[in-house]
C-alpha cells in the first residue's frame, strides 16, 4: 500500500476554490489497521464498503452539537450524503487529535473555550477534500476517464459523458489504493450544500429513544459501583473512619480510603449510597477553609478600595475623574455558582494486571490518559480512554488535574486485583463538591462630562484566580493578572479615553473552575449594567450610548443593530413592560440580546421575550447555532434569577435542585435568534450566548423600576432564594 503520510504543500488560489498546504497525520499510527477495503485516508474519516462514512470526532459531545458540526464540515468537502454519516469519538491521542487552537507548542486533545469548530474548520475541510480526491481518482482509474470529468454529489461519484456512477462504498477499496493527493481544492463557500444549511443533529435519535450511552450507562461484567464520602469542609482530610456499619449494608463489598475521602463500593448504586450514609469518618479539619460567603464579601469590600494588579491602562484616569462633571460608582456582587450538569460526574475504570480501560465524558483526554496511567502504575500504551457522550458539562468536566480520574483510578487500585468500578457522584456531591464559578466583587467608577459622555472608567475586580497553581497558569497569567478574571473587562470595546482595569486575586480554600463563558459571566454583567446606569443618569438612550462608542467595532454594532431592529427597540410596549439591551464579545463571537421584562407577583423580573443577534462567522449549522443561543439564554437567565452557592462557616448550604434553583420551563422566555450573515471563518457558539442575558434583564429592570440590580441572583430582590 502506498504511504499515506504526507507533508503536502500548495498555496495559490485556483479558480473558485482554494488550494491549501496541509499535513494530515496517517490514519493509524499503531495497532488495529482498518480492513484494506476501507478508505481511511487520514485520522478523521473512514469510508466502508457498506457505504457508511464514519467521521472521527476529536471533541467531546456534551450537548453543544459538536459531533454534528464536525461531521458537517468534513461531509461538505467530501460531498457525502448526510444520511450515510456516522460519528464516533476519537481515542486519546494528542499526536493526531490535539486542539489546534492552543498553538504549535501545546499538544493537548481537549474540548473547551468554544473553539472546537474554529480549530477544526480547515483541518476537517482538508480531510474531507482529500478523501473525495481519492474517490475521484479511483473512479477515473476504474472507468479510464479523466478525473476532471468526474463529479461528486451526495455520496455518488458520476461520469456524465459515459453515464457511469458509483457509490462511495463501491469505490472505497480502490480508493484506498490511491496515493493521497498532494494538494486539495476547497470549495467556494457559495457551493456549500451542508454548511450553512440544515443538517439534522446526528445524536437526536439515540437521545430520544434511550439508547444513547453516557458514562452512567456503562455496564461491564462484575462491575461494582462506588460513591465517595468527601469532607464537609474544603481542605479537610481523613483522620480515621469506621466502616463497620457500612460493611453490614447488603451489597457493600469494600470500603477503602482514597486521596479525596473514603469510598464505599457495592454491587449496585443504591447499596453504595446506603453504605455511605452509615459510614463514620473522622475528619482532620486543621487545614480546612472555614470562611463563609459573607466573610468573603466583607474581605473583598476592603480589597475593592485598594489598587490591584493592572490589567489595562489608558490615558490618565485620576486626572479625568477630577475633571469630570460628575462621577458615578457602583459595586456588583456575584455568587459562587455550580455547573450542575444533569449527568453528575462519573467514570468507569476496568483495571487488569497489565492493562486498563476507562470510560468517561472526557474533556481533556490527554490529561485523563496520563493521569489514569500514572495512578494505576501502567505505561500509557496499556491504557485506553473511551470518550462517551457527556450529559452536560459547562466546564465541570475540564479540571486541570483530572481530579475525577484520580478518584476513580484510586478506587480501582485500592480494591486490589482485577476489578471494574464505576464511580458515581450524587447531586449532593456535585453541588457540595466545589469547583465553582468564583465569587466576585466588582467596583466601577465612571466620570461623565457635561454632555453625558464617558470620559473616565475605572474597573476593579476582586475574586479568586481560576488558573493560579494549575498548569494553565503558564498560558493565562500575565504580570500577576489572571486573564481569565478580567476577560471582557480589560478588552472593553467602548471608546473611552481614560481607562483603568485592575485585579485582586485573593486566595480562598474553595475550589473554583471555569464555568460556561468564564470571566465574561461577571465582566459582561458589571460593564453592561453599569453602562446602563450611566445612560440612565445622563438621560441617554442605552443603544445610542453604546453605538456612539463602538465606531471601531463593526461586529458589535452589527449585532446591536440587528437585535434592536428585530426587537422593535424604541417602539412602545404594553404598560408594565420594559426592554433592556446588552452586547458582549467572547470566544471570537459577538452577541447582542434585547430582553423584554415585566414584574412578577413576587416582585421579581419575568422575562417575556428575548431577541438575540449573533455574529459567529460562518454558521456551520445555523440550527445548532440557534439552539446554542436559546439554551445559553435559558442557562444564563436561570443562573441570574435563582442560582447561588452560599457557604456558612465553611459549609456549603445547598444540596439539591430544591435549593440550587435553575431555570424551569415556565420561566423560559420566547427566544428569537438572528444570525449575522458572514464569510469569516467560524467562531464559538457554546458560550458566547450566556453573558449578555443577565445584564440585558438587569437593564430592562432598571428601565422598568428605576432600580439597578447590583447583587446576583435577582431572587435576592424578593428577599432570598425562592424554591
Amino acid at each position: 500500500m502506498p504511504s499515506r503520510r504526507g507533508f503536502l504543500k500548495g498555496a495559490a488560489a485556483v479558480g473558485v476554490g482554494l488550494v491549501v498546504g496541509f499535513r494530515l497525520e496517517p490514519a493509524r499510527a499503531q495497532a488495529t489497521s482498518p480492513a484494506p477495503a476501507v478508505l481511511a485516508p487520514n485520522a478523521f474519516v473512514r469510508i466502508a464498503p457498506d457505504n457508511t462514512v464514519t467521521i472521527v470526532a476529536k471533541h467531546l459531545e456534551m450537548g453543544q452539537g459538536v459531533h454534528t458540526g464536525l461531521a458537517t464540515i468534513l461531509a461538505e468537502e467530501l460531498d457525502a450524503d448526510w444520511s450515510q454519516i456516522r460519528v464516533e469519538a476519537a481515542p486519546a491521542d494528542a499526536k493526531r487529535y490535539h486542539n489546534l487552537a492552543w498553538g504549535p507548542l501545546i499538544s493537548v486533545q481537549s474540548t473547551g473555550g468554544s473553539n472546537s469548530i474554529r480549530n477544526s474548520w480547515e483541518q476537517l475541510r482538508r480531510a474531507g477534500a482529500a478523501a473525495r480526491a481519492m474517490l475521484v481518482a479511483a473512479a477515473a482509474h476504474r472507468w479510464s476517464v479523466p478525473a476532471t470529468e468526474i463529479t461528486v454529489d451526495r455520496g455518488v461519484v458520476s461520469h456524465a459523458p459515459s453515464g457511469r456512477r458509483a457509490t462511495f462504498g463501491e469505490l472505497a477499496a480502490d480508493a484506498a489504493q490511491q496515493a493521497p493527493p498532494a494538494k486539495v481544492t476547497l470549495k467556494d463557500p457559495k457551493d456549500f450544500k451542508l454548511i450553512g444549511h440544515h443538517a439534522p443533529r446526528v445524536d437526536s435519535r439515540p437521545k430520544t429513544d434511550g439508547s444513547a450511552v453516557y458514562t452512567l450507562d456503562v455496564r461491564r461484567p462484575d462491575m461494582l459501583t462506588a460513591v465517595i464520602a468527601r469532607p464537609p469542609r474544603f481542605g479537610a482530610t481523613v483522620r480515621s473512619f469506621d466502616a463497620t456499619a457500612a460493611r453490614r449494608v447488603n451489597g457493600v463489598t469494600d470500603v477503602v480510603q482514597v486521596p479525596s475521602g473514603v469510598a464505599v463500593v457495592a454491587k449496585g448504586t443504591w447499596a453504595a449510597m446506603k453504605g455511605r450514609r452509615v459510614l463514620h469518618v473522622d475528619w482532620d479539619e486543621g487545614a480546612a477553609e472555614r470562611r463563609g460567603t459573607e466573610d468573603l464579601y466583607a474581605h473583598y469590600r476592603t480589597l475593592a478600595v485598594q489598587p490591584g494588579a493592572v490589567a489595562h491602562w489608558l490615558g490618565d484616569v485620576p486626572a479625568a475623574m477630577k475633571g469630570a462633571a460628575r462621577v458615578l460608582e457602583a459595586v456588583y456582587e456575584f455568587p459562587y455558582l455550580a455547573h450542575a450538569p444533569m449527568e453528575t460526574l462519573d467514570c468507569v475504570v476496568e483495571l487488569r494486571p497489565d492493562s486498563c480501560d476507562i470510560w468517561l465524558g472526557s474533556q481533556i483526554p490527554t490529561l485523563d490518559h496520563e493521569t489514569v496511567a500514572s495512578v494505576v502504575g501502567l505505561p500509557q500504551r496499556k491504557v485506553q480512554v473511551h470518550t462517551l457522550l457527556a450529559g452536560g458539562s459547562f466546564g465541570r468536566r475540564s479540571t486541570a488535574r483530572s481530579e475525577l480520574v484520580v478518584e476513580a483510578a484510586s478506587v480501582a487500585k485500592a480494591l486490589g486485583g482485577p476489578r471494574t468500578v464505576k464511580l458515581v457522584w450524587t447531586r449532593e456531591d456535585d453541588l457540595r463538591g466545589g469547583f465553582y464559578r468564583p465569587l466576585y466583587m466588582h467596583r466601577l467608577r465612571a466620570g461623565l462630562d457635561a454632555a453625558g459622555n464617558i470620559v473616565a472608567w475605572e474597573h476593579r475586580i476582586v475574586g479568586q484566580s481560576i488558573v493560579a497553581g494549575t498548569p494553565a497558569a503558564i498560558l493565562r497569567v500575565r504580570g500577576g493578572v489572571d486573564l481569565t478574571s478580567v476577560e471582557g473587562a480589560a478588552n472593553l470595546p467602548y471608546a473611552i479615553p481614560n481607562m483603568l482595569v485592575d485585579l485582586h486575586s485573593p486566595t480562598v480554600g474553595i475550589p473554583v473552575l471555569w464555568w460556561r463563558a468564564v470571566g465574561s459571566t461577571h465582566t459582561a454583567y458589571s460593564t453592561e449594567a453599569f453602562l446602563d446606569e450611566l445612560a440612565h443618569a445622563a438621560g441617554r438612550d442605552p443603544l445610542d450610548l453604546r453605538r456612539a462608542m463602538l465606531a471601531r467595532h463593526p461586529r458589535h454594532r452589527g449585532v446591536l443593530d440587528l437585535a434592536a431592529r428585530q426587537a422593535g427597540w424604541g417602539q412602545p410596549l404594553p404598560a408594565g413592560r420594559a426592554r433592556g439591551i446588552a452586547v458582549h464579545e467572547c470566544f471570537g463571537s459577538v452577541v447582542a440580546q434585547v430582553a423584554e421584562v415585566s414584574r412578577d407577583p413576587d416582585g421579581l423580573p419575568r422575562v417575556e421575550r428575548v431577541v438575540c443577534a449573533v455574529d459567529c462567522g460562518i454558521a456551520v449549522n445555523p440550527d445548532v447555532v440557534r439552539s446554542q443561543m436559546e439554551g445559553s439564554i435559558g442557562f444564563g437567565l436561570g443562573s441570574a434569577l435563582w442560582s447561588e452557592i452560599t457557604v456558612v462557616d465553611g459549609l456549603v448550604q445547598q444540596s439539591n435542585f430544591h435549593d440550587f434553583r435553575i431555570l424551569r420551563i415556565d420561566e423560559m422566555p420566547r427566544v428569537e435568534v438572528h444570525i449575522v450573515p458572514s464569510a469569516a471563518p467560524p467562531t464559538g457558539v457554546g458560550e458566547p450566548g450566556v453573558p449578555p442575558i443577565a445584564p440585558a434583564v438587569a437593564n430592562a429592570w432598571l428601565a422598568l423600576t428605576g432600580k439597578p440590580v447590583r447583587r446576583l441572583p435577582f431572587s435576592r430582590l424578593a428577599g432570598g432564594a425562592r424554591t
Partner: protein, 141 residues
Amino acid sequence: VDADTPLLWALRDELGLTGTKYGCGAAQCGACTVHLDGQAIRSCVTPVTAAEGRQVTTIEGATAEGTTGRVARAVQDAWNRLDVVQCGFCQPGQIMSAVALLSAIPRPTDADIDAAMTGNLCRCATYQRIRAAIHEAGKRL
C-alpha cells in the same frame, strides 16, 4: 433487590434499562420519569415494591404498543424533527412526562405544558423546543 431500593436503580442496575436517568435522587429534576400504570412518576423516590404487580413503562418500551406507543412515537418524531436535544441526558424523562401529558390532554395549552413539565429540569435549557415539540406532536395525534 432490597425492598427499599428505588425503582430507578432496580431498572438501571438490575434490569439494564439505562435509558431512565439519575439526576437528583430526590424527585427534584424529573430525569428518572417513567410510567406506572400510565401515570408519570419519579422512579428515584419510588420504592421498587410500589411497582410490584403494576405496569412499568420506560423510555425503551414507550413506543411499543397501544395508545401510549402511538403517543410516544409522535413525541419522539417531533423531538427529532425539531432537534430538541442538546446533551440529551434529561430527555428520556422529558419525553415520558410529555407522553403522559399528551395521553391525558392531546391538545395542551402552554399553561398545560407549564403545569405538566415544570418538574422536568433541563440544564441545557431546551425548553423552547420542548414546548414546540409537544405542540407539534399534539397536532399529529
